[in-house]
């Protein structure tokens, strides 16, 4: 017996030694990584060039088919590998030249003529000329139904697209004026792709490696669920006007690794395996910053994070009930208790910087007394054993599902639940998964659902809220006034006219409490001290083009 046990003893001793070393190391390295950031301002273009970074995304690539996809992470990858006709300056929101070096708009607002930049090629070598732009626009406008590809439903009605290759121009004739057209062309969904992508089956287009663009990065390889490797596009020389870098990207390579587990992402950044990560729990921001990491937060322009109220659900066809909910939510408390200074309470259904944005927060100020008055007026005067209001023996309850697209959502829902309890409303929170969230949309017992993401234009208000569109408010009888405004914003002939209409849409939706504005969403990134100049699109998608690293 001694033979075996001497070996077992040896192994045990070795094991305990290993554990002791491991624990010692764990205890000792708590303060690692507290280095200061270098002065990024003095670096020259040559200093910036070269190096590779590892970026940990919080989600997996699902589908990159341009017209049919909608996931944030996929849009962020597309932004880095494909260019658009025009560029929207993220600081000024001004539309600037990109692949279209200039354009003219006819006086009636119906004809747009784009002059296409010379010398641009897709990464497969195909020339990006007027003809290629026309094929892209036709494809975006019509979709490809034989392949299950829908049209890009953001586009205004287009009568014709013609290309003059000799002159290098593309002319688009619209069916109605659209001051949103250029913003829509600047959005990632309108990315220009090579013929090979347009002609490929939808299954190929769903892979990032199947999307061939003319952007500053090229997809070198993609392994489903493990990594996407982007490499610098050699010869890239057609950056949007106004950017400091007009040549190739500084980074040689960006490896995107999807890591859904929060602690793994954070641990990998802290241990130096990753150079930057997306999405940090608000509670982790401070400790990470104290450890010397950079916290970069960006609020995208577009729709605010709002809760649509569904009028098909019990009690929500009563405007007083809806308004009571509107005044029963304390947005500032949500920010103070759950988020950080990088986040902010919503001040409208769209975010500051959006075309036509109007601060209408006074119309939905937190006022529980007003909520109680409205509910009393609506006849919800009884109380049940739990303190919830009742009418004719029925409890005032609203069913909602936790948003599956936002990993910070659950505590927010629970806090709103607590706030509404103070005015006697039972917010019944259920959870489901991504696959079944679609059926929640068609379930008429569901009263409130999250909506609103940063997007290039307010066009989606019309797509989502028009009673003949997606009818997200589940109007039982159409609100003609709102429908009229939603139609007008798409066809307004001047920006001023459109801004006025969008202002009225915001007032109408908030006053009638069709939707409850909650917060302005923020994308939060954690960066190693060696990484600089991670920039963003208007809609807060990260751009790696001007990013550089000190690690070469």
């Amino acid at each position: 017996m001694s033979n075996i046990f001497s070996s077992i003893k040896r192994t045990a001793a070795l094991t305990s030694a290993a554990v002791a070393i491991a624990l010692l190391a764990t205890g000792c390295s708590g303060s690692a990584g507290a280095t200061t950031n270098t002065d990024a301002g003095s670096a020259s273009a040559e200093d910036k060039r070269g190096g590779e970074v590892v970026y940990l995304d919080a989600e997996l690539s699902r589908s990159t088919q341009l017209q049919a996809s909608g996931t944030w992470q996929d849009s962020a990858y597309i932004e880095n590998i494909a260019d658009r006709l025009v560029y929207r300056d993220p600081e000024t929101q001004e539309i600037k030249p990109w692949i279209a070096e200039s354009w003219t708009v006819s006086e009636d607002g119906l004809t747009y003529e784009f002059k296409i930049r010379d010398g641009v090629t897709f990464s497969n070598g195909q020339v990006l000329d007027a003809g290629a732009v026309k094929r892209n626009l036709d494809w975006q406008i019509k979709g490809d139904t034989d392949k299950g590809i829908p049209a890009n439903n953001w586009f205004p009605k287009v009568k014709s697209v013609t290309a003059d290759d000799a002159a290098g121009t593309v002319t688009v004739k619209l069916g109605h004026p659209s001051t949103a057209f250029l913003a829509i062309l600047s959005f990632w969904r309108s990315a220009l792709v090579a013929d090979a992508t347009i002609e490929a089956p939808i299954e190929t287009q769903q892979q990032l490696s199947g999307v061939i663009g003319s952007g500053p990065f090229v997809v070198e390889s993609e392994k489903y669920g493990e990594e996407i490797v982007l490499t610098r596009r050699e010869g890239y020389a057609w950056a949007p006007e106004g950017l400091a870098n007009q040549g190739e990207a500084y980074l040689d390579k960006v490896t995107v690794v999807p890591v859904t587990e929060d602690s793994v992402r954070l641990g990998s950044l802290r241990s130096g395996e990753a150079d930057f990560i997306r999405y940090i729990q608000p509670s982790e921001e401070k400790t990470l910053a104290e450890a010397g990491f950079q916290i970069v937060a960006r609020q995208g322009v577009g729709n605010a994070n709002v809760w649509d109220l569904k009028q098909a659900a019990p009690f929500l066809d009563d405007v007083k009930v809806r308004q009571a909910l509107q005044h029963g939510i304390d947005r500032q408390q949500i920010i103070d208790d759950l988020y950080t200074g990088n986040w902010s309470a919503a001040t409208s259904i769209i975010t500051p910087g959006s075309v036509g944005y109007k601060d209408v927060s006074e119309l939905f100020a937190y006022d529980p007394e007003e909520s109680n008055r409205l509910l009393d007026e609506a006849g919800w005067t009884g109380r049940d054993a739990d303190g919830y209001r009742t009418k004719d023996g029925e409890q005032l309850h609203v069913l909602t599902y936790v948003d599956v697209y936002d990993s910070t959502a659950k505590p927010l829902f629970q806090l709103v639940q607590w706030q509404l309890k103070q005015i006697g409303v039972n917010l019944d929170i259920k959870e489901t998964d991504y696959a079944n969230y679609a059926s929640v949309y068609t379930d008429d017992s569901v009263g409130a659902l999250r909506n609103g993401w940063p997007e290039a234009d307010t066009t989606r208000l019309s797509i989502g809220y028009h009673s003949a569109g997606s009818n997200s408010f589940k109007f039982q009888a159409a609100d003609k006034e709102l429908d009229g405004l939603l139609e007008d914003q798409l066809t307004a002939s001047t920006v001023e006219e459109r801004e006025k209409t969008i202002g009225e849409i915001q007032e109408r939706i908030v006053e009638q409490a069709y939707a409850l504005p909650i917060i302005n969403d923020t994308q939060v990134f954690g960066l190693a001290p060696t990484v600089h100049d991670l920039t963003f699109s208007s809609e807060a998608r990260p751009h790696f083009y001007e990013t550089w690293t000190e690690k070469k």
């Binding site: 017996m1 033979n3 075996i4 046990f5 077992i8 192994t11 491991a22 624990l23 190391a25 764990t26 390295s29 590892v54 699902r62 589908s63 049919a68 909608g70 979709g143 139904t145 034989d146 392949k147 299950g148 829908p150 049209a151 439903n153 939808i202 299954e203 190929t204 287009q205 769903q206 892979q207 392994k223 489903y224 669920g225 493990e226 690794v257 890591v259 859904t260 587990e261 602690s263 793994v264 641990g267 990998s268 802290r270 241990s271 395996e273 990753a274 697209y405 991504y434 696959a435 079944n436 969230y437 679609a438 059926s439 659902l449 999250r450 993401w453 989502g464 569109g469 997606s470 997200s472």
Partner: protein
């Protein structure tokens, strides 16, 4: 019944099980609400208008009734076409092939680790000279069973990847990348094997042959390795089917924590999204594995234990095997 008949009957039964599983899974998936295409159509970030949604449904044959969809699916299957993932557009065959290869290597190493753990724990529990060590080893499998796999994984990552930097938490380092996930997987899998081994070893050491061997001066290491462990292993071997299941189920967790895109990961993603073609293929693969394992076990039993051979082959076929003869003798000898 001849050996061939027996074999043919068992293979026939296995094929029937696989076919019935296919029909059942198809039916369940058809009944379940929600799929990636519906999610795409009503995606609040990009809602698709009704007439275009109809074209999308038609492309995926989702506008047809269940029977037609089933027919299309079966026809494609017989043409060797597993179709594409509805959610990601990836070829199902490719997803399964890559995922299976990855999981097989992981599960293989995990099995080696699990067996090593189990033998070490069982030996300690039965043979350690200290009472506390025996008690500790005896309780260890229960603790291992009760510890969630992701917790084991995260602790291993914390210590060996983040603090000691011996391993990368995200980069593919070939064989090295397999060690931590295989250890994670092995902890849960080793527990039931260790429990059975402990019992088996206790029983074996209680048998008179051990005393005889000791009296003959056989070294303890040979008694353990050559006799006691061998005897104790037979009940543990019957756990093989269960272990395969544990390995497959555990790989979902291990692969999620260690960012590996094996079969567990593919399954998790497909089930989450209710991605019909992928779920169908994964369930079929698992059904085939289990059927094969069971078939192999059934075919191996007669080889290992001659008594079973005689029973399954029956008597009076006119071609009695030596094994059957042996069986009769044993029955006579042991009333």
């Amino acid at each position: 019944m001849s050996r061939t008949q027996f074999l043919l009957r068992r293979i026939g039964q296995s094929l029937l099980v696989i076919a019935l599983t296919y029909v059942f899974v198809f039916y369940v998936l058809f009944l379940l609400p929600g799929d990636p295409i519906e999610s795409r159509i009503v995606n609040p970030q990009n809602p698709i208008p009704a007439e275009q949604a109809a074209a999308i449904l038609a492309y995926y044959n989702l506008d047809r009734n269940g029977l037609e969809q089933f027919w299309i699916s079966v026809t494609r299957l017989f043409q060797g076409d597993l179709g594409f993932s509805l959610g990601t557009g990836r070829p199902v065959a490719e997803l399964i092939r890559d995922g299976f290869a990855e999981t097989l290597t992981l599960a293989g190493l995990a099995l080696v680790f699990a067996l090593a753990f189990a033998v070490a724990i069982a030996a300690t529990a039965v043979l350690a000279p200290w009472r506390w060590a025996r008690g500790l080893a005896d309780k260890l499998p229960v603790v291992a069973l009760a510890t969630p796999g992701f917790l084991v994984g995260l602790v291993l990552l914390q210590v060996f990847a983040y603090q000691l930097s011996w391993f990368s938490s995200i980069r593919d380092e070939g064989f090295k990348s397999l060690i931590l996930p295989a250890l994670t997987l092995a902890v849960g899998v080793s527990a039931p094997i260790a429990q059975v081994l402990i019992q088996g070893l206790r029983q074996a050491y209680g048998e008179p042959f051990v005393t005889v061997l000791r009296a003959k001066g056989v070294p303890e290491s040979r008694i353990f390795g050559g006799h006691a462990l061998k005897n104790a292993s037979i009940p543990a071997l019957t756990l093989f089917g269960l272990t395969v299941g544990e390995l497959l189920a555990g790989s979902v967790i291990a692969e999620a924590v260690f960012n590996r895109s094996g079969l567990g990961f593919v399954t998790e993603q497909a089930v989450r999204a209710q991605d019909g073609p992928v779920v169908q293929a994964v369930v079929m693969l698992v059904a085939i594995i289990f059927t094969l394992v069971n078939l192999l076990t059934d075919l191996l039993y007669p080889v290992i234990d001659k008594r079973i051979a005689a029973k399954t082959l029956g008597s009076g076929t006119g071609s009695r095997t030596p094994a059957a003869d042996l069986d009769t003798r044993q029955e006579v000898l042991t009333p």
